[in-house]
């Protein structure tokens, strides 16, 4: 295809491409050197791989419209420039033409664009419809958007839950290469939008209803995931990574990734910190005393906290209650905040670790 030729350097190095992009994101000092450098600055696809079955089709139509637009733009500007040069005012009494209209020309410049536009419409519509009906054997994934992180569950892999994180660019969605994947998505608070540029897919995530999205990844690697519908303060931090694996590694990875367990030799507080990040607590609670959406955890342990129900000692019971029933006692100054409940998502081991971690935040 034309596009593959255009993007020869990427196509040739399909596999490392994703990881190179990831490297750039994580470490801005990493730059590709050599002959590719010039190509990468002029080629808009250099940083955007075509990593799903939809990508090439969408790009081909995009390119088709680019070429048509360029043709018409150059034509219009060329004619305008020529007239500007040819008919600039030479003398104040210079005569001008008495032409007021021309039916034939006007019909042509209405009809030709109309035909081209219908062509583009049909092409776009056909491609769009392909994106709306997922194959019946698609891998099922459920996505939940919250201010400001994503939670991803795999119904076929019980217990596995991946979460995006404000502070780390962590893997949020893992999918097998070459297999259709269907996401069923909803939001627990405001509008969000699940957007994977490398796959050319995007869909709003709406509270109170389920929206659906499907794709089939064609490249192994890591790709950016964004929230594309403005959702408040940390909208731009609601990002993550989509990891595409060879199908045989997929199940293995999920089994491993689903575990949120204390590792050997890992101190309890360090495990608690991992929970803090993995479960998205960091989206709203800072560790440095600055208030985010919720109160900071710094110096919280053992404190007499003023809440809307009176004062309360911050101890094991209060922390557990705040995680499972966040609106039971709300810290003064945060009355309007609607923290989602985490009931059933943390076990006793997790609570022990989390509380141990909070104790260290003096």
């Amino acid at each position: 295809m034309i596009l593959s030729m255009l993007m020869a350097p990427e196509a040739a190095a399909a596999a490392p491409e994703g990881s190179a992009t990831a490297g750039q994101v994580l470490d801005p000092s990493v730059h590709t050197q050599g002959a590719n450098a010039v190509w990468e600055t002029v080629n808009p696809w250099a940083t955007l791989p075509q990593a799903s079955t939809f990508a090439e089709g969408t790009d081909l139509l995009y390119l088709f419209i680019v070429v048509l637009s360029l043709f018409f733009f150059v034509l219009i500007m060329g004619v305008q420039g020529y007239f500007m040069w040819k008919y600039h005012r030479k003398s104040d009494d210079q005569k001008t033409s008495s032409i007021t209209h021309n039916g034939k020309v006007e019909f042509l410049w209405s009809a030709i664009p109309a035909v081209l536009l219908v062509w583009i419409f049909v092409w776009g519509e056909v491609d769009f419809l392909k994106q709306t009906v997922p194959p019946p054997d698609a891998v099922q994934v459920r996505v939940t958007g919250r201010q400001w992180f994503w939670t991803v569950d795999y119904p076929d892999y019980p217990g596995v839950q991946l979460t995006s994180s404000v502070d780390d660019n962590v893997v949020t969605l893992v999918v097998p290469k070459g297999k259709p994947v269907q996401l069923t998505m909803t939001s627990e608070d405001v509008l969000h939008d699940f957007y994977i540029p490398a796959f050319r897919v995007k869909r709003d995530v709406v509270p109170g209803r389920y929206t659906s999205l499907w794709f089939e990844a064609t490249q192994v690697g890591e790709f950016n995931l964004y929230c594309a519908e403005y959702c408040g303060d940390q909208h731009s931090a609601m990002i993550g990574k989509v990891k595409v694996l060879e199908p045989e590694l997929f199940g293995e990875y999920l089994a491993e990734a689903g575990k949120l367990e204390q590792e050997e030799g890992e101190p309890l507080a360090a495990f608690g910190e991992r929970i803090y990040k993995r479960r998205g607590c960091n989206a709203c609670h800072s560790l440095d005393g600055s208030p985010k959406v919720g109160p900071s955890w710094k110096g919280m342990w053992g404190k007499q906290e003023t809440t809307d129900k009176g004062t309360v000692l911050v101890d094991d019971n209060y922390i557990k209650e705040s995680v499972e029933e966040p609106n039971a006692q709300i810290v003064a100054g945060f009355e309007g905040v609607k923290m989602p409940s985490y009931k059933g998502q943390l076990d006793e081991k997790h609570f022990a670790a989390l509380i141990e971690f909070i104790k260290t935040l003096e």
Partner: protein
């Protein structure tokens, strides 16, 4: 004939202009003179243009680096809490959007130039309802006060689109005062539209048939139709939003049994036609600029006039193209995509007709014409990139990215604002009786052209690469392009400040011309050029009569050619 028109008011002694016919602050604040109201709209919209523009300069500065930094630095320096910098960024882009849409672009051309010119162009003494016109202005000012209050009451962080349920139940900012402000502004818009419609129907000078009306009036007419029909929907929507927020009545928030997508339908049912409220008057200005400065009969008068009306009608049935990925049904998406392409045809006809007008003309490259030609460049890009977004599969990728930001800035700014600035120069002498410095004006227009394209063109590429809009921080790979955009914005700022400088300088007492300026600045053939510069209080000494169309310039060679009328 044009000659008759330009001599119509000749032979009368010079009378005091409308600027000095009455004196004192009260004679301005309670004036029913459409020309004075036009100037007051002009001053207010330009003031808000500065406010909205500076907000953009601040958030573009923040985007110089991928991470947080610039705003929190400023907040720290001001002794404020630097951790609120993300909120500050969100407030800045919201203020920019809301101010530019509701307080600048919607009232700018109709309120300022429309008010000033419409009765003059029609050969009328004033608009049909002068007192209603005064009321429109004060209603506009009241709405603007609500916006100013919003700025001081903690700002607004919902984006100018007020999407629910974020705006109704999550944002902690001054949503109610802002939406109520927009609600009030809507009434101003409706009253102005109504006034203009009646004026055009009933106040045209004897002999001015619909087909002899300047195209600017046609575009104002098409705009007025949309203002009257669409704005009430916005008013109702915003009222429902206020009710949900204050009384907890579930309309849009699913937590209370509402539907957030319903809000988007309501909102865009107004706001898409509103896009044409914003751009159609710009089209009208361009038709005047291109014809007058090439002294050439406009090409395809009827096509341009009727395409404005066609656009106004079709604009009511394309709102769903803002919602291709929002969760509306696929069938709705397909229908809206098709209708969106339908609106592209009349728009293309206009561009082709303007370019064709230049053919065998006598083109003078003075400042207004430079803006007219610049418009053809920038608006054509704005129009063509709309095709990408109307195309379903391509929009899925580009929706809510910088591509959209670039597209609507090429239309709203590269279209309306460029046309507005061009029109301001075109009618500046007529409005103020002063000449600006032509040399400075040409240089400043170059700054605008370079700055504008530098700011926004590469945002198409940013969007194509997947950079979402409304992002406070971004991944480092986009930094180069963001820096380019920000530098472009600074150049644009310099250009606008320069324009403000030489326009204000032309108003100084010492800059007053020794001889009164000629009635006809550019050799135009429409009626506003036949009266004194600046016009007298009641516009014309007698009732002007029209026996020719407004593009019948004396330079037109009538000796040959089949199409001569």
């Amino acid at each position: 004939m044009a000659d008759d028109k330009s001599t119509h008011d000749a032979g009368h002694e010079r009378e005091p202009s409308y600027l000095v016919a009455q004196k004192g602050l009260k004679s301005w604040l309670f004036t029913v003179d459409h020309k004075r109201l036009g100037l007051m709209y002009l001053a207010t919209t330009l003031l808000f243009f500065f406010v909205g523009g500076m907000a953009a300069i601040f958030f573009r500065t923040e985007l110089l680096t991928p991470g947080p930094g610039e705003i929190s630095g400023v907040l720290t320096a001001l002794g404020m809490d630097p951790t609120t910098s993300a909120t500050t960024y969100n407030k800045l882009f919201t203020v920019h959007g809301a101010v530019m849409v509701f307080l600048v672009i919607i009232p700018s051309v109709p309120g300022a130039l429309g008010n000033f010119l419409l009765p003059l162009m029609l050969g009328a003494k004033d608009v049909a309802f002068p007192r209603l016109n005064l009321l429109s202005f004060w209603v506009y000012s009241l709405g603007a006060l609500f916006f100013i209050y919003t700025l001081f009451a903690g700002g607004l962080d919902t984006g100018w689109t007020f999407y629910t349920p974020y705006s109704s139940n999550f944002s902690g900012t001054a949503v109610i005062s802002a939406t109520f402000g927009a609600f009030i502004l809507g009434f101003s818009s409706i009253l102005t539209g109504l006034n203009f419609m009646v004026t055009i129907h009933k106040m045209r000078a004897p002999g001015m048939t619909w087909n002899r009306m300047p195209l600017f009036c046609w575009s104002i007419y098409a705009t007025a139709v949309i203002q009257v029909l669409a704005t009430p929907v916005l008013a109702i929507t915003l009222l429902l939003l206020i009710m949900e927020r204050t009384l907890n009545i579930g309309i849009f928030d699913p937590a209370m049994g509402g539907d957030p997508v319903l809000f988007q339908h309501f909102f865009w049912f107004y706001s898409h036609p509103a896009v044409y409220i914003m751009i159609l008057p710009g089209f009208g200005i361009i038709s005047e600029l291109i014809a007058v400065h090439s002294r050439k009969h406009i090409f395809g008068y009827k096509a341009i006039a009727l395409s404005s009306v066609a656009i106004a009608i079709i604009s009511f049935v394309v709102w769903g193209h803002h919602m291709f990925v929002s969760g509306q049904s696929e069938l709705a998406g397909i229908v809206f995509s098709f209708l969106t392409f339908a609106v592209a045809v009349p728009t293309a006809i206009k561009v082709f007709s303007w370019v064709a007008t230049l053919y065998k003309g006598s083109i003078q490259f003075n400042t207004p014409m430079l803006y007219g030609l610049m418009f053809l460049f920038t608006f054509t890009i704005g129009g063509l990139t709309g095709v990408f977004l109307g195309t379903l599969s391509v929009d899925v990728h580009l929706h809510d990215t910088y591509f959209v930001v670039a597209h609507f800035h090429y239309v709203m700014m590269g279209g309306t604002i460029i046309a507005f600035v061009g029109g301001l120069h075109h009618w500046w002498a007529k409005m103020t009786g002063r000449n600006y410095d032509e040399k400075q004006a040409r240089w400043a227009s170059l700054f605008i052209f370079v700055g504008f394209n530098m700011t926004f063109f590469n945002q198409f590429v940013l969007g194509q690469q997947g950079m979402p809009r409304r992002y406070y921080t971004y991944v480092p790979q986009f930094q180069q392009q963001h820096v380019l955009s920000t530098v472009g914005a600074y150049i644009l700022l310099a250009g606008f400040l320069w324009i403000a400088f030489y326009l204000l300088a032309s108003l100084r007492k010492s800059a007053a011309p020794k001889e009164p300026l000629p009635d006809n600045t550019w050799g135009g053939a429409s009626l506003e050029w036949s009266t004194q510069t600046p016009p007298i209080e009641h516009n014309f000494h007698g009732q002007p009569r029209v026996d020719s169309d407004p593009y019948n310039f004396p330079q037109i060679d009538r000796t040959g050619g089949m199409d001569h009328h």
